[in-house]
């Protein structure tokens, strides 16, 4: 298969890559850009471990062909903290004990960022609904929900 050149802005950095049409964004991020924060958990859209922001929308990188996002802005979990300072969502996850094994966390944190962008003050029900596509086997979601709620509050303070 012929490789194609694509340009991406990943976590604020421009990059040009050569990819085969069947390469998944997930594997391009992990293998070509070394951004291993984004995880494989199922490959069929059922776990959310691979969620990244594509033009600020949370999408599943395991079902996205890299060629289709040519020209897009991608944010992965590695791109949330700025100048070494954690994003308020990350702060809240740390503070509220929302992290256990941590394998689901990158996907969930990124989803939360996408969620709060479109709904800055979600109800508990809305947060639960947004977590529907995310499998977390460790936490029972309880502290994760609390953390997202707390982050929303913190962020609304500006």
């Amino acid at each position: 298969m012929e490789e194609r050149k694509i340009r991406l802005k990943v976590n604020g950095k421009d990059c040009e890559l050569s990819v085969k049409p069947n390469e998944l964004l997930l594997n391009v991020l992990r293998n070509k850009l070394g951004l291993t924060g984004t995880k494989y958990g199922c490959g069929t859209g059922d776990c959310g471990a691979c969620t990244v922001l594509i033009n600020n929308e949370p999408r599943l990188s395991c079902l996205t062909l890299a060629v289709t996002v040519d020209g897009a802005e991608i944010t992965t979990v590695e791109g949330l903290a700025t100048n070494g300072k954690l994003h308020p969502i990350q702060e809240a996850f740390v503070k509220h004990g929302a992290i256990q094994c941590g394998f689901c966390i990158p996907g969930i944190v990124i989803m939360a960022k996408g969620l709060l962008d479109i709904n800055p003050n979600p109800t508990v029900e809305e947060i639960k609904e947004a977590l529907k596509g995310h499998l977390c086997r460790c936490t029972g979601y309880i502290n994760i929900i609390k953390a997202i709620k707390a982050a929303a509050l913190e962020m609304s303070k500006g």
Partner: protein, 278 residues
Amino acid sequence: MVNTRILASEFEYFEPRTINEAVNLLAKYGQEARVLAGGSDLIVDMKVEKVNPKYLIYIGKIPELRSIAKVGNEVVVGANATFFDLIKSPLLQSFPILLEALKSIQLEIKMMGTIGGNICSAAPTASTATPLLVLNAWVKVVSARGSRTIPIEKVYVGNRKTSLAPDELLTEIHLPVLDSRYGTAFGEIKTKIKFAVVIGRRGDVCEHCRIAIGGDVEVAKRVEKAEKLLEGKVFNERAIEEACDAVVEEIDPDNWYVREVAKYLFPKVVWEAWEKAR
């Protein structure tokens, strides 16, 4: 065992910028080509080797396919509008039944999945299927041979089968604006059963009725028999019960559980639509 960590299948990839370009590619590669929209169904199907297209035609770079506009008494939705596009569109707010049905879709899929992909996958569980059926939606499909329109119920011809030819591209979904006196309701029990209902009433009489069933059934469809049983009748428990029996007939007799929950859900949904009708 397949490898879902990668997409093993190999294909030639195209990125048409216009509908014309897309249909010409489809004309050329037909049977061996697939349209790629959000990919949330297709990439999974390719990973599990259910389909293995030699040519992939990505339609995400055709701007006109993503527009939503009001034309006369219809809202026209581009096939590549995502679920989220629909949810946030002011024009779609007049179709609460459709928005209600989209609620249970997970966030990432709301962003990725398109209405066109949802229709073309033709899953009986599809979120848009039952509302589109009772809204009397119709679609426009285009090919190098020309274009045609198909009422939505004629699109779903079988389990995950549509009446589109391999060289046809779904471009538009037309949603006729409902008479504001009509009441609508949608209800579902997980992926087991879904109902969408539109009712027009005059006093105690059900004047007009549309019922669609989806979920764990062969194909999402209108249940005309049940509609007939309600139309022109005084709307009461007995009439609903009769209609309910007709609805349940659509469900595989071996599917004991789905039949049971349908009996519970159906009356709730029709009552809700009835109460909203004016």
